[in-house]
Symmetry: C2
Subunit: 303 residues, 2 copies
């Protein structure tokens, strides 16, 4: 097996995690969580999204959150969007890093984005022009890249089609998301190898939900394919809209723990992450799917 | 990455899972669970243990459970023991498959078994003679093979020492247990390769607890080292005495799901396993750490 010396973790808790929480956090609470996560070592953090306010009320104040955070140098504060309208809000708010999400599954794309993958692709040049004109760095995320709760396994050709459109426009930072937690390690390994073979200049990232317990196993498979960029969510916040009550994103502290125990650098302070996670559990008012918060550090020598 | 065509799963829920449950199940309930697990595909199942009755009251009736189950041909009904007294109970009960557990960590061995690893090893020839004389097939389990909640990381030399004593006496079925859920994939891969290199005839098995979320990732690492024998526990029953509230053994249904989705045969009927797991949750009176029970099958095409 092969192991990276260091992995790059994008913290997505403030967006993918909080968006399904019923308790609406204040701007100050969100900004405080983001500031603390940066103190704990986050170098890239998805602070919110510019999407339909009615569909995702938790994200309605992303402009205010972005204005409120203590912005540090060399930290990537990223926002998720689905369309031109989203990137216009990013530009107006002064956000410089935007992730544009497409969905590989036709059913999921229509249900979530109200457009087919092909329709989404047609709009990409206009969105990229707008981003470039406004000095915004665009990255791409492909939802349901491995499986779809409606359609089942997603064929890699559907993924290639979307990557190809990003890639041909020069968008090289692309992540594959296992939106409904259906990916397994063998598939992750094969998809990553094929994507890297076909798109050699790609900077590939992976975004796993731990819905069926395979989250960290999928990370290991990604590492074997040479991937060193992973999304995760503080405290394991988040969930799967297709499986109510199921686990959410891979928890940042769980990913950091596993990596550090394998001598892979993450840049994170694990005890601090755990304490931030516990505070967030108090704020959202319930336990979350974090192994390290439940089990604690591996032995008494550690806090 | 390399993948086995088939894996051999030993179901340990009736022993490692139930032993920490406060609700004492009746002999009939335990026998029914075991019978159902065999119907669902279990070919090897740890039905109980012959250990200290006061320390583990749930296991006090293992003789009666063994007598009560519908014994099928070609199914390995296994019992766990720690010493000569345990194997004498096995012989008296007519049990033909016994797993003898040693601990690699000195502190854990003294705390749990009241003897050092070296003292345990000294008794091994007498126990093996007794087993042979009573037509009992002995296998070995090494607890805290990767880490110990008291001592931290366990050096592989401590593991070698125990395997060596089993191996020299002809006990070739040996499993490494991550008793307190501290193993990580890189370590699992390295330990398995080293063990297989030093003891070429070994039939190596792995027993993971999902305490810190790495259970299935560790299974993947074991597969990469050529291991195809894994313990797991229905419904994810079990826990870690050093981390109250933490997850237990890797859940059988989660291991079966991951394997099947990777085209690795397990011989199990996944929907049936899930329904057995749900019944067990009712009997023990609480939710357990099973991803498949919470999330359900991956897409609507499946139940």
């Amino acid at each position: 097996m092969v192991w990276p010396k260091k992995i790059h973790i994008s913290e997505v808790g403030p967006r993918d995690g909080l968006q399904i929480e019923k308790t609406i956090l204040s701007v100050a609470q969100k900004a405080s969580i983001i500031n603390h996560l940066v103190l704990a070592g986050a170098e890239e953090i998805e602070i919110g999204s510019f999407v339909n306010l009615k569909a995702v009320p938790q994200m309605a104040d992303t402009e205010k959150v972005f204005a409120a955070i203590d912005k540090k140098d060399n930290i990537t504060y990223r926002v998720l969007v689905f369309n031109l309208q989203g990137i216009k809000r990013a530009a107006a708010a002064g956000v410089k890093f935007v992730q544009l999400a497409h969905s590989a599954s036709i059913s999921h794309s229509i249900k979530n984005l109200n457009k087919t993958p092909s329709q989404m692709i047609q709009e990409l040049p206009v969105i990229l022009d707008y981003a470039t004109a406004h000095d915004i760095v665009l990255s791409g995320a492909i939802s349901t890249a491995f499986g779809c709760a409606i359609e089942g396994k997603v064929d890699i050709e559907q993924v290639f089609k979307i990557i190809s459109s990003f890639y041909s426009l020069g968008v090289l930072d692309i992540s594959l998301s296992d939106t409904s937690g259906m990916a397994v390690p063998r598939q992750v390994y094969e998809y990553c190898l094929k994507v890297k073979e076909r798109f050699p200049a790609i900077r590939l990232g992976l975004h796993f939900h731990n819905t069926r317990g395979t989250g960290l196993a999928n990370v290991i498979a990604g590492m074997q394919a040479g991937v060193d960029r992973f999304d995760s969510s503080i405290a394991g916040l988040g969930g799967c809209p297709f499986a109510p009550g199921a686990s959410g994103n891979v928890a940042t502290e769980d990913l950091v723990h596993m990596s550090q125990e394998m001598n892979i650098e993450t840049g994170f302070d694990l005890p601090l992450l755990i304490s931030i996670g516990k505070e967030i559990q108090k704020i959202v008012g319930h336990d979350t799917e974090s192994f390290l918060i439940k089990a604690g550090m591996p032995y008494a020598a550690n806090p």
